[in-house]
Chain length 333, copies 4
């Protein structure tokens, strides 16, 4: 039984708490949040302790692993505290928005040997991962193109956007990681970015973006396209397509039902797709937890490591540079 301390009891922290409790191999021992009432909510629901500080939670001798779901600026501090305490670490993406801090953290971590998993949940979705597996099994022959459409249902509010680090670092970063996941050991070497503010006032006021397109190129020559929007009225659009010498595989959207309607105006009409990540990636979050537990128990390497978190940020930064310079930018890892 792996005992967790949860740092951060917001929307996503609560979801992780629930998964930890449901999992027969893990338990939630203690929770901490700067907002005491959020911590109390989790504590009441799952009957776990409340820590008065992150440090108290992290150094608690009963716990095996730290689950970091707090605000981004706290991540590195908590990672290092946990590393010093010799605990296994799960950290929500991004590690940090500043590549220099991430690089310093990387150096600091060299002194410790603890498993660390960065929360790129999409890799653990059954459909996306079976697409990856099929590619690795050679089902599409040589990979030549990746096309990802990834659109959120609705733009977040201005408070969120002020802290989020920008469209590329906050949102597109998931798709950069997914592209890296599919490519495997064929690194992304170049990127071009186009982006706009087409509809979101909040994005406009925070100098952020709401619509973007990228082309990425891998070392072996695979061409990859990503398109992102902060708003899709039909739900959380999450499609991945890979194309190669022997065929194509699409990981398509999903709906909660298999109902199809036919009337005077429409045929084969399906219910709206899942609204957002909590619904769409429910199974992925649970799988990710299982795999992280397996890594801890069986001393395996984590499947998404610190370097993965760092590399996705480097690509996002290169995307911003391309947007600014209107050039194709080489990625330097």
């Amino acid at each position: 039984m792996i005992k967790f301390a949860l740092l951060g009891a917001g929307r996503i922290g609560k979801m992780h708490a629930n998964n930890i409790v449901l999992n027969s191999q893990s338990d939630l021992e203690v929770v901490y949040d700067v907002n005491n009432s959020a911590a109390r909510e989790v504590s009441n629901m799952h009957n776990c302790k409340i820590a008065q500080s992150a440090e108290e939670a992290i150094t608690n001798k009963n716990i095996d692993a730290i689950w970091i779901a707090s605000s981004t600026p706290t991540h590195i501090q908590y990672i290092l505290l946990a590393a010093k305490a010799g605990k296994a670490i799960f950290c929500e993406k991004p590690i940090d928005l500043d590549i220099n801090k991430v690089d310093q953290c990387k150096k600091d971590l060299e002194n410790f040997n603890v498993p660390i998993h960065i929360g790129f949940n999409r890799r653990f979705d059954l459909s996306h991962s079976s697409l990856k597996k099929a590619k690795d099994n050679g089902e599409i022959g040589n990979l030549e193109m990746i096309v990802i459409s990834s659109r959120d249902p609705a733009s977040p509010g201005i408070e969120y956007l002020r802290e989020a680090g920008g469209f590329f670092r906050d949102t597109a970063v998931h798709d950069f990681d997914l592209t890296r996941f599919i490519l495997g050991d064929d690194p992304i070497i170049e990127i071009s970015a186009y982006a706009n503010v087409l509809f979101s006032k909040a994005a406009k006021e925070t100098n952020d973006l709401d619509t973007a397109m990228f082309i990425l190129k891998s070392q072996s020559g695979v061409l990859c396209h990503i398109n992102n929007s902060r708003r899709a009225v039909y739900g959380y659009d999450q499609r991945v397509e890979i194309f190669g010498s022997k065929g194509m595989i699409i990981s398509d959207n999903q709906s909660p039902t298999s109902v199809k309607k036919f009337d005077k105006n429409i045929t084969n009409s399906e219910d709206p797709i899942y609204y957002f990540f909590i619904e769409r990636y429910d199974q992925a979050y649970k799988n990710q937890l299982n795999i992280f537990i397996d890594c801890i128990k069986n001393k395996k390497a984590t499947l998404v490591n610190f370097e993965d978190g760092r590399n996705a940020l480097i690509i996002a930064n290169a995307a911003y540079e391309s947007l600014k310079t209107k050039k194709s930018v080489k990625i330097k890892y």
Copy 2:
């Protein structure tokens, strides 16, 4: 070049006229209709002669084949005239509504040796026929079930219904034939019928039906289901499913476009399916013509012969008997 005389210049006659003219191997030489203005319309459009009587058209020495698309009561008379004249015969279904007349016609035809093709057009649809071919190739292993959903877009008017011979002989008969087509040399031996008037005033006033379900059993034990309605607001519903030891094949509905729409309420929504038989089976009618021409030119046996027309009527009659007696009725051919 096969030269045709067309008898009957109504909606379906006009469609056949058009196909005959478009086909590079056939020509329309003469047309006849009791309604002179209908004949004139076809004549004007396709630059063919008008006969003053069916007999004149049939005995015209320039023509090779008679295309009978006139009203049902005239079919047998025209078939026999054409047989006597030694012409190849295409006859729209049904041969006649009265099995005794059909039996007499069968006897009368024994004296002649002319190709005769009964117009069960659905056999020539690319999707239905490729389903049949896949079954014959063993793709689903042993055939165990057939399920046919076949629904017209809108109930015909009272005049049509008065002449049409009843829902089973007019409409379901197509599906009885399609079932026979799929079964091949495994004859249907038994049928149960349920039917109702649920919505059509015209059907009610003519003592006809608008909603029906059948189960048929073949000699080898295959179970077959057919459901029919005289009205489907989403278009002409034409689905065929076969099921067996190695799998299932469905010949699904078709839409004129491959457009899919996504908005707040619907996803993957397609355009309405084809409205009715002229649109849905356009290609099937053209294929049927090609095959009939091939039979004539190369002295091959026709693919839907007089016996096929007769057998479908016998099944329809047995269905009426089942409806009346509330029993499973054995088919006697």
Copy 3:
């Protein structure tokens, strides 16, 4: 917190045990099985007590409700014991295979007033139930047809078939109930059945069936078709279609992934559908539990009651009579 005693720790009992434990409003207090090692397995996994007899489990003062998942012949006995003990009752279908015993049980239960829920799980599937809801909301106008295709992935072994009560009472009974569920207060009044042994040796040796088709008619004239097979190589085929004056709704099959493959031979090819009921109706079983708990806590009427269990059996018996007499059989409730 509703505390359950589980009777029967076989495959389906284990699944229910798991759901009871996962549910935040229920707990598994005690388990009983004639096979002690099966009971011990559940006890070990979920940390609950083992009763030495069904009676001991049922009369345990800590428990609120009895979950009957034991073999069919024990159902009535356990139901009556539980009723006497004043416990809420969940009973897997069927109540019993003998309508006389069911009728006697019905009388015996008149003396008690305990909630009883019969386990027709399919009613609680999100897709089937949203189809039902759409029908109740008038989305397809007047209901005119129901078409159900329901096929198991693989025929059970001879031991199971010996006890199961026959294809119609064991398997088709689910579809009879689903038809009743959709029809609501419009009772089924008539049925015709066709069936065969086409492939299963075990079915042949036990005088059972493996392939069946039914037509049912409701009082208002709705026509319903059901087809069943004991083997579908592509998985657990579970499709429901309703058709009416304003359109059609289909509750289609489901696959664990949304992956589509394209190669030289196939396009849009999806992964196999769910293999069997445990996977396909996972969510339905959980919903059913939630609703049963809600009935207990809030003293609501159960959504599938004793009469529903009895009526489905009556229809199955009428189906057997139709098969034997080759007649349409009126249903007498």
Copy 4:
């Protein structure tokens, strides 16, 4: 009846000849090809005259319109001859591969006033054009993204590639035009291109490309992605997606049948999509002819004019510049 002279009797010329003859409002009067035997084939099949030179065909007094389907280097010469002769002109894309020649031709045409239609056939596909119509009707609200996947089934041979003008001018040019068609009066102002030779030896030997991705930006800020491949083993992949404030519309691939297969390994598997443009855009070519005839008869402006042909070439040239400079290139019309 519009009478055509056909210049060029290769594969696509033959297809056009066939359509012209099938159309009830047009006739093929004369054909010319440098390869006399190709001209004779068309003449024999459709019973039309053979001209001894393009000039003879063009100046034939019986003809109303010139259909240019000859090799690209002859286009401008024939266009100008036809303009001088006062004939309506249909010209297959591209006008020419050299923008300077196109510009000169544009000037030369200023002296004449003849209708000229450039053969961007995809605009006339029923699915693509109904997507465009839905966008114009506001069905997706404000347009924000266009995503086009366009892949040929198999790479052409080295002879074809030597003449074709390069992947962007020969193939992607269709997608540049389709993007312009959807955008309507919102011009494309910027483009970035990535491309590779990943598999085609013929492309390698001719310094051509076989895999490409583009991002284009419109004046109003719409972001557009196009991906192209010279080989897709599952057929001619032709998908168009538009996304906006109210939803998304996809014009998906099409298959000749509506058959779906289910076995142990696959479900819902469809037949391969149409193999190439002749099959996929059959209806589009016929619609294009109808519309061109309508323009001639009713003195309407053509729907794809000289400027459209010129602009698509300008975008293709900018794409090459972007590929070379690794910069986003502004389009100068």
